[in-house]
């Protein structure tokens, strides 16, 4: 553990995560990660006037995975879908005061889950076709560092 050194902000979000839970009948839903790898994250969104009106998450994973999930929901809430699509993994890590290098890949799934949720909404309203979605497979199955 001695090499980990989470920022105060990471610990604050880990201990008091925002927007935890489930939205019934969400407009968009994204799920990334894999319990085999030790991180699984899901995000629910409610959309109004092309903006993220409500957002909730549930995460299985380490401290940074939970802090990242909490932070991304805070960053995305109230933003337009196009703006929210621009939030990157790095933006989330920066907003948290940085993440330990070994956590940047495995636990930093918040942006990916959010983008999936938005794309699923776009599919629902016909803006995107299901087959146009190229799913980021980098956290699935045999790609996780533990395998």
């Amino acid at each position: 553990m001695k090499q980990i050194g989470y920022s105060e902000k990471v610990m604050e979000h880990f201990m008091n995560p925002r927007n935890v839970g489930v939205i019934e009948n969400p407009d968009g839903y994204g799920k990334v990660g894999n319990p085999v790898c030790g991180d699984l994250m899901e995000i629910f969104i409610k959309v109004l006037d092309d903006k993220i009106e409500d957002i909730k998450f549930r995460t299985f994973g380490c401290g940074s995975a939970i802090a990242v999930s909490s932070m991304i929901t805070e960053m995305a809430k109230g933003k337009s879908l196009d703006e929210a699509m621009k939030i990157s993994r790095k933006d989330v890590a920066d907003e948290l005061g940085g993440l330990p290098p070994q956590k940047m890949h495995c636990s930093n799934l918040g942006a990916d889950a959010l983008h999936e949720a938005i794309k699923s909404y776009w599919v629902k309203i016909g803006k995107l076709k299901q087959e146009d979605i190229t799913k980021d497979e980098s956290h699935e199955g045999d790609a996780c560092p533990a395998q």
Binding site: Y6, V20, C37, G61, C62, Q102, A146
Partner: protein, 384 residues
Amino acid sequence: MGGIYLDHQSAMPLDPRVLEFAKTCLVEDFGNPSALHSVGLSAKTAVEEARAKVADLINAEDSSSIIFTASATEANNLAIKGTALRNAAKGKKILASSIEHISVLNSMKELQKGGFELTLAPVDGMGVVDLSALESLLSKETVLTSIMYANNEIGTVEPMQEISEMVQEKGMFLHADAVAAEGRVPIDVQKDGIDLLTISSNDMYGPQGAAALYVSPKVKLQPSLVGGGQERGLRPGTENLFAIAGMGEAARLARLEMANESERLKHIRDRLIEEISKLDEAYLTGHPTKRLAHHASFRFSRIEGESILLTMDAMFGIQISTGSACSSRTLEPSHVLLAIGLKHEEAHGSMVMTLGRDNDPSQVSSIVGAVNQTVQRLRMLSPL
């Protein structure tokens, strides 16, 4: 901060009596044990007294069988590479259990790169070495077998006497990493039939920076370091006087106090195991009875170990450890938990509690309450 420390397998506080005893080595008897003047001689005496005390703890036939090193990792390296390389003419097969400490496994892998044939003996679901598999893997060419006395992650104590009989009959030399077991179970290298044994100072309330390798008189070793001939030439380098003198005193106290202390800790351990096992989808890891008296280890479904560790620490001031991938440098789950048959997703949810002198039965209810709340909090966050 008035917390409850339950990570004695990672580090232990220095016993104040050990500090009192050994501090003269820092200021008065500070000499170089190799120097022939009186200050050097008193330092030499301190080292030799420590050697005798360590020998007593494990009932070594002679104190000259004890070689001081700077860490257990170093002692494991010296035992494994030193024995295999020096005796390579007799055989080039090496054998270890699949739950050994990483310093043992990596020493073995280094030998493998140099042409030795490495095999790992499996363990059962409770972490006990599979004796029939071990027997079938041993041969006359098996120059070294390394089996830990007890496992640090799951607490299981191995049947050392049966293992040593097997190694004596079918193989050659037996090394035992006893870092988790020392000061907790009585070790007798002669009765146990162990040729090489690793113990460390801090794991029995001694200072960090000292460890020892017991080397039976019948084993010849090749040193890893060369230098001025200290420690019978097997571990040259000016002695870490404070740490060595402290380790000796810690060994003496461990020998005297181990039986009572283990009995005391066993009661706390059993209550922790009983109460925590009652929680929803909580499972003991390791052997229920053949386990170290201070060791309680578990896994919880649907949550992750680093989150358990951080919550227990930040919310309740309780320090535990975990074999979760996320808390390791490699991001791989513990090889020990995989070796006892856990799936990756199960190994991620592990928690290890190791008790020590400052723990008492009155802490049990707070600990169990904290675990319960931690598990509930993380399951509420979990999509699984």
